[in-house]
Amino acid sequence: MKFSTRSQNLPLYATMLVLLALFSVASLRYEGFFSTRVVANLFSDNASLGIAAVGMTFVILAGGIDLSVGAVLAFTTIFTATLVQNHNVSPFVALPLALAIGTSFGTGMGFLIQRYELPPFLVTLGGMFFARGVAFVISQESVGITNATYDKVLEFGVPLGAEASLSATALAFIVFLIAGAVLAHFTRFGRNVFALGGNENSARLMGLPVGATKISVYAISGFCSALAGVVSTFYKGSGNPADGVGFELDVIASVVIGGTLLTGGVGTMAGTLTGVLIFGTIQTVLNFDGRLNSSWLRIAMGGLLLLFILLQRFLSRHTAAVR
């Protein structure tokens, strides 16, 4: 058993190694890459992605998948932007409302998946179409936000040395990631999620609350997607119903590259963080190097995805053979 847990951690180490290698090569190659500013920006630029990835990690750990995250993000951005900008609703009311809607949306999908034993893939696909459509019902165009509370949040920053500071969105990401890690690895709920993803029947026979756990992971993912949307309104200063197309793929790719098995039951929050940072580092490299166009980001992510899935596959075969 000890051997299998160790080999399950191998993908995580491999991912960390990739991140380290990527960052080192980029630091040697591009002047000014190795700086606290770049690292701080990695966190604030990818706050939305990271927060959504925390939610997705729970869903994938439980053996499911959530395709609706990009659409829920888009809905949340346009919902909050319209409320704050066009209806003069205080952000203190609009933001909790948006988060509540995202959470209930996720809960609804989780209910359909759990109660009627529907495939998560199709239900969240329906959720994706639905949320995207509703986002466009609210507004067909991008809505900019000018609001005193927003400005105050944007001014906020924790200084890191002379030239860098950690923005509020980056802080939100870090705090949320830690909360997610605690929930996943140090609570009863977290253990239920792992058990459910490992083997649903065993989990049920052990008397674990399988149904409630299953619905909860989709609720968490809905909340995370909505929070990612809220963070995005701060980051971009606007809401846009067309935001986050293909976002779900980036999120899933980050989680899988982070070593979480898509079959469920195996994975870590640290891995998810590493996956998100790899995504961010590739993007930063593309920005530093003007010659490479953005299509390389997709190809690199696809290549890494292939590499890590093959690695996982090889390891799981190997462990099975040892047993």
Binding site: F130, G133, Q140, L262, S294, R298, M301, G302
Partner: protein, 339 residues
């Protein structure tokens, strides 16, 4: 069986599963007959048929083609998420070849389709030989494929005025759009191959119980690789049509969300995602249902961006109707009332 209101017409369909999609399509058509005057009007101009119905066939051709390939994959218990990206690759390759290489048109089409079939084969190998879940294996190409397409076109939108390639998506044959011929041809060949030879049986047996199929002596790996390659081929043809329609290769938009429409068409058509029995005609009806839904909403003045909402409702409704638990719940409600 006595209470079955459809007992008489059931034998008309090749299985009960075809009943619901056909009924859905009919409902939409009846709705249009009432609320959209001129919906059924057909006009013959210059020997070409025009009208809303023809538009539905023409615009639905891409999803129908994808759905044919997707049906076979889903029958084996898999799924192919990469078809949209493959469409973009096909469009990019074809556009670059017609604008930059002096090749005969047949060679251009051949190269394009060969490339997408090879990409499909790669998917199939990942699924069958390496043993990765289909959703994940094809997700890789879905993510990377669009990047590859952008790389081929160098991030630009390549426009062309190449007559044969423009004909693929805009030409007419036998008074109907040429795309209809392409769909019928693909459907005909696929139906013959799956219903008149043992291939269909192989597909269903792999989807029903892969282990049993292997013990029966079926080369399950080969069967799977072939269906993914075929789906790649279908995606290639659909990509040619999509690119030809707009006379340009737009790598970031061509085939966007198309994979989801195709899966939706297959599921609505009555082929279960769990694999096994499949119906090609059902998937075609499913694809037509989606296209009619979209066209109906355009006619009603619903903005195109809002169109996904009803689509989502139909997806979830169809899933619920196929769910054993949901049916039990409904029957228990009605059972109590009658008792």
């Amino acid at each position: 069986m006595m209470n079955d209101p459809f007992a008489r017409i059931r034998p008309w369909f090749s299985g009960a599963s075809l009943l619901w999609p056909v009924l859905g399509l009919l409902t939409l058509l009846v709705f249009n007959a009432i609320y959209a005057p001129g919906f059924f009007r057909l006009e013959l101009r210059d020997g070409h048929l025009y009208g809303t119905l023809v538009d539905i066939l023409n615009q639905g051709s891409k999803v129908m083609l994808l759905a044919i390939g997707m049906t076979l994959i889903i029958a084996t218990g898999g799924v192919d998420l990469s078809v949209g990206s493959l469409m973009a690759i096909a469009g990019a390759v074809a556009a670059v070849l017609v604008t930059q290489a002096a090749l005969p048109f047949a060679a251009i089409v051949g190269t394009t389709l060969a490339l997408t079939a090879i990409a499909g084969t790669a998917n199939g190998l990942l699924v069958a030989a390496v043993g990765i879940q289909p959703i994940i294996a094809t997700l890789i190409l879905m993510v990377a494929g669009r990047g590859i397409a952008m790389l081929i076109t160098d991030g630009q939108i390549i426009t062309f005025e190449h007559a044969p390639l423009v004909f693929v998506g805009n030409g007419h044959l036998f008074a109907l759009p040429f795309t209809v011929t392409l769909v019928l041809l693909t459907l005909g060949v696929t139906s013959l191959a799956t219903r008149k030879t043992a291939i269909g049986l192989f597909l269903e047996s792999v989807g029903d119980n892969e282990k049993a199929a292997r013990y029966c002596g079926i080369n399950t790996t080969l069967v799977k690789v072939v269906v993914y390659a075929f789906s790649g081929l279908c995606a290639g043809v659909a990509g040619l049509i999509a690119t030809s329609n707009i006379k340009a290769a737009d790598s970031s938009r061509v085939g966007e969300m198309m994979e989801l429409d195709a899966i939706f068409a297959v599921v609505v058509g009555g082929t279960a995602l769990t694999g096994g029995r499949f119906t090609l005609v059902g998937s075609i009806v499913g694809a037509l249902l989606i296209q009619t839904l979209t066209t109906t909403m355009y006619n009603l003045g619903v903005p195109p961006a809002v169109a996904p909402v009803p689509k989502a409702i139909v997806i979830v409704a169809v899933c619920l109707l196929q769910s054993e638990k949901f049916r039990q719940q409904i029957t228990s409600w009605f059972g109590r009332r009658q008792a």
